[in-house]
Amino acid sequence: MRNILIFAELTFREARRRKILWVALALGLTFIALYALGFYQIFVDFLRHGQGRNMLLDSGFNFLVMAGFYVISFLGVMLAVLTSVGTLPGEVSSHTIQALAARPVRRRAILLGKWLGLALMLVSYIALLAAGVIVATWGISGYIPPNVVAGVALIALQALIMLSVCMLGGTRLSTIANGVVAFMLYGIAFVGGWIETIGSFAHNETAVDIGILSSLLVPSEAMWKMASYGMQPPAVRGLGISPFSLTTAPSTAMLIYALLYTAALLVLAVRSFNRRDL
């Protein structure tokens, strides 16, 4: 465990020194500021035409919050892939790994330490952006979407799934090949998710099955759908008035599957990295 923490800290320090952390934070804060400004303008506009808070107004606010969270979910996935895709292959190809791996440490400490460092960074980043969006929305309008903590946790899990995909790929693939695989898988999950949503509106079971199959392949999009379903008021969900409207959400079984999936990816990554010649 001690060695895992050393590698986690080293990974975190690398992100800081290479200015990844600062750039991401600066852009994240810009995003929150723009979101708050936009939300405020729309809020003022709504009030001018409406008569105080009502359900319709809340569903409008909810749509804006969901748009904000959708961006956070997307940024989380991007950051997960971009920070992790080269962390192992880069060190293997540059030989920096040799002096580290020749220490009395197990390979799994290197891999899990890097995973932990990146995971903590991603979760903190997502939590920070989400807190910014929630605080801005609440401060301006007094509106808070339901199940917001669970929603943010699911968005973070979505990023961790992609992080684990990249860690496994990185034990064997080059940085670029790993990135291509990660984005292809994310793309499959993304398109599959939309096919499932549209299929369920149109009552097309084949389309729904395709969506489920893609979620089993990569359950990242399913986590977003669970998050967005939970964070919308029941009255809004089935209306189909926003792109985030869902009539059904992935079940708890899918959440358990996603957790097991992530754990399995890490187990496979450790096994694969153990066999890798450095």
Binding site: I6, R13, A102, P104, V105, R106, D277
Partner: protein
């Protein structure tokens, strides 16, 4: 000392990459306190052999132990240091941070780690760079910091893979001085190199490796005990002479025209016997001149003159 397990022990270590055999079967024993040179041409399998011993590459078959612990167990590297070839480090780390990370991974307590860092920087003649990022280091400075890294925690066994590549003559002398100092302290060193003159100056024993196989292991001592190349000039090379001399040396080159035989001997003890035997056979003996073999002579005789090697 004698009860301690050897520093390095390997039995038939083999590494295949697909159909290519990088190391064909490494059987080796390096005792404590030795400075062991591992020499061979580029692509002979030296680095792969070191990688297997250090757990960086999985052997296809065979086994090995470092300081008595199997190489499959990371704990075998608790008292081991390593300077890799193609030495690269995280350039975003400062020199002192870099050494501190390695001290922690080596399992040193924090206080001991921070105490040894200035000493190590002093040892590799880099005293004023503790707060500089590795990205600003020259190749020679990186090699020195790499050497400092390999010596963290006062290891009992140190692997140096091409330690003088990238160093200027002063840097090379520094490496030799450090090697000498470590040798006096009783540290075992395993030096991978194709710079024969460096190996000759620093090592006590060498193994020659070509084509993934150890061809010969030789002790490098002082001149009277070293390997000899003996030139024997006779009146006539008659039948039975070469065959008879084979009892002392397997390797005999014959130059009929110059009436000269060149043989390789482990030392000079057999010289009087050889002279007596030749004279008793009634052959005129004009000269019998031994001279110590240089490592280069030995290298060429074992590896073959067509293999590339640097002698600078």
């Amino acid at each position: 000392m004698s009860q301690l397990p050897p520093a390095i022990e390997s039995h038939a270590l083999r590494k295949e990459y697909g159909t290519t055999v990088a190391v064909a079967g490494l059987t080796l024993r390096v005792e404590r306190g030795e400075v062991f040179g591992f020499i061979g041409p580029n692509g002979a399998g030296k680095t792969t052999a070191v990688k297997m011993l250090l757990g960086l590459a999985r052997p296809t078959s065979g086994e090995g132990r470092l300081l008595g612990v199997p190489i499959t167990d990371p704990r075998c590297r608790r008292r081991v240091g390593f300077l890799p070839e193609d030495f690269r480090f995280h350039e975003w780390l400062r020199a002192d941070e870099f050494l501190a990370v390695h001290a922690r991974l080596q399992g040193l307590p924090t206080e001991e780690g921070s105490r040894c860092i200035p000493e190590l920087l002093e040892l590799v003649r880099l005293p004023d760079v503790a707060d500089r990022h590795l990205g600003t280091f020259s190749k020679g400075m990186l090699q020195r910091i790499g050497l400092a890294q390999a010596l963290i925690g006062d290891p009992e066994l140190v692997f140096l893979d091409e330690p003088t590549s990238g160093l200027d003559p002063l840097g090379r002398r520094m490496v030799r001085d450090i090697v000498r100092e470590l040798r006096e302290r009783g540290t075992t060193l395993f030096i991978n190199s194709h710079l024969l003159s460096e190996v000759e100056l620093t090592c006590t024993r060498v193994a020659f490796i070509t084509g993934g196989r150890v061809r010969q292991v030789t002790t490098l001592g002082d001149q009277s005990n070293g390997l000899l190349r003996v030139e024997v000039r006779v009146g006539k090379i008659e039948e039975g002479l070469v065959g008879g001399l084979r009892r002392w040396s397997e390797q005999i080159d014959v130059d009929e025209e110059a009436r000269m035989l060149t043989m390789r001997l482990p030392d000079d003890t057999a010289l009087p016997d050889i002279a007596r035997w030749i004279v008793r056979r009634g052959i005129d003996l004009y000269s019998l001149s031994p001279r110590p073999m240089s490592l280069e002579d030995l290298f060429v005789s074992i590896v073959g003159s067509d293999e590339p090697c640097e002698t600078s």
